[in-house]
Structures are given as C-alpha cells and as structure tokens.
Amino acid sequence: MLTDSVGRSDSLTFVQGFRDCLPTLFGYISVGIAFGIVGTASNLSILEITLLSASVYAGAAQFAICALLLTGSPLSAIVFSAFIINLRNFLLSAALAPHFTKESFLHNIGVGVLMTDESFGVAATKLKQTGSLSAHWMHGLNLTAYLFWNVSCILGAVSGQWISDPEAWGLDFALPAMFLGLLFLQLEHVPSAKWKLYATLIICMIAAMLGLSLLFPTHVAVILATVIVASLGVVLDK
C-alpha cells in the first residue's frame, strides 16, 4: 500500500518532513521525467536541463523557458515570463512566512528558496493539523522534493532519446491530479461552520479564473483571482 495522506504525527522533525513528502513524490517524478523529455525535444543538452531544474526549480516556468528558447524569443522576454509565472510563489511564501518568524535568518532563507506549490500544499495541510510548522520539518520536506525533482528531470533528459511523447503515458496529468489532491486535503480541515464560505470561494475562484483568463495569460489570472477571492473571503467571513 502506498503511503497515506500527509502524516498525522505531531512531531515536526526533519525525518517527519521527509515522510510527509513521500505522498507527493510520484507527482514530482512524473512531471520531472516529462520535463526532461520535453527539454531534450527542445534541443537542450542534459547539462543544460540539469542546470535549469537545479537552479530555477519550478515546473511551469521550466516548460515555458524550453518553449520560448525553441521559438528563439529574446532573453528579456524569457526572463520576464519566468518572473511572472513564478510570482505566485510570493503568495505561497507570504502565507507560510509568519509561522517561521522564531527561526533563524538562514533557516528562513532556506525554507523560502525551495518553496513549491506542492511543498506549500503539504505545509498548509500540516499547519491545519498541528497548528505550527518548524524549519527542520520544512527542510526535510523541501530537500526530499528537490532531490527527486532533479533526479527525475535528468532521468527524463536521458530517456528523451527514446521516448518523445510524455503525454501518451499520461504524465502531463500528474500536475492537475496533484493540485486536486492537495485541494481536497485542504478542504478536509475546514470546520463545518465554514463549509458554505469555502464553497462560495471555490465557485468564485472558478468564475474568476475563467473570466480573467479571457483577458490575461492564465498564470497572471492565477495571481489576480487569488488576490481578489481571498479578499472576498475576508469580507464574507464573520
């Protein structure tokens, strides 16, 4: 049997962080392999793919960088796209940062540098369960994810010489499935008195995403819709 959802244990050690990362690993591996294959198909060398995944460490932006390099876009346009796509990390870090103020400066930098959608999702779930977070637990979570992401990207880059279409294997579905799973884990911890509020917010988010995506690129719509609907949540929450 595969590991359960995020661990129920109250301990916030490095090892517990590693354990809590395990349920997300298949997602990192699937998307990482898919990225390596796409990188190879975009004429990047294995060394370039390795550097990209190790230093940018952000799935969506890495795919976008490959696509833009392939079409010969100017440097400034590629870097600006990467910035906009990853700007949502500001919201993720802002939501978790207040829970690490007692930790040292270096620990805070360490936690922030490796922030991803998935590690954020796991941490937000942990926070709802235990009421607190620790830097050591977060490092265990983040470093495990970072290691598996990079190994998977390299594996994909190597196997890209034989496999050309990651979609045929369903690997592109790992990302939406992961976000859906993390969303359900979040909702599990909503107190029953707030179900109506959260249902309203989710419906508003769907409407806002559809509407804003008509006007903006979807990665901009993600940020705008979140800012607007989270504000609505503050207004509606009595």
Binding site: F26, S45, V56, N89, F90, P176, M205, M209
Partner: protein, 107 residues
C-alpha cells in the same frame, strides 16, 4: 555535454527572478507583525491558489482564444472522486496518470 552561453544567461537570470518572490516574504515578515485581517487573508490563499492551479490546467490559451482541455476535464472528474474517497495524494496522482494513459491509448 554542451552548454550554450545564451541558454546559460537565461537559466541564471530566470533563477534570480524566481528566487526573489520565494524569499522576500520571509525577509519582510521577520521585522513586522502582520495585522489580523492580513493573517485571515493569507489563510484563504491555500484553497484559492490550489483551485486556481487546477482550473489553469484545464484551460488552453491559443492566440487570444480560450478553450477547455476536455480530456483533462473528463479524467479530472473520476480523479476527484478518488481524491475525495481515499484522501491520499499518491493514490490520487497514480490513478489520475493511469486513467489518462488509458484514455490516450483508447482515443
């Protein structure tokens, strides 16, 4: 093993603009106490952003046209039932990828 200097510049600068939004809140929050309204606002961010990311994966933007990725939506529904029933991330992702692979094999 080769590396192109333009690609290297793209990687270095993209890494820089990615790391700034990641660490900036940690630097800012250390030196100020956030008001309760802001903390409440931040508590809604997880559900909002995860919903947004699911929807983003369902949308395709092609030359200023917005379209829905129907196969993704089709497979997302049984995956949602599995996510709700088993409350397990690995179970959700593995069965989702399997369902999508089967769909692509058949269609």
């Amino acid at each position: 093993m080769s590396i192109n200097s333009t690609v290297l510049a793209v990687i270095a600068l993209s890494a820089l603009v990615t790391v700034i939004p990641r660490i900036l809140p940690f630097l800012l929050v250390r030196n100020l106490r956030l008001p309760d309204a802001v903390m409440k606002w931040l508590s809604f961010v997880p559900v909002c952003i995860l919903t947004a990311l699911v929807i983003e994966n369902l949308l395709m933007q092609e030359e200023s046209r917005l379209a829905i990725d129907w196969p993704i939506l089709l497979i997302l529904l049984p995956t949602a039932i599995i996510a709700y029933k088993y409350r397990s991330l690995s179970m959700t992702v593995v069965s989702g990828v399997l369902l999508m692979a089967i769909y692509r094999y058949i269609v």
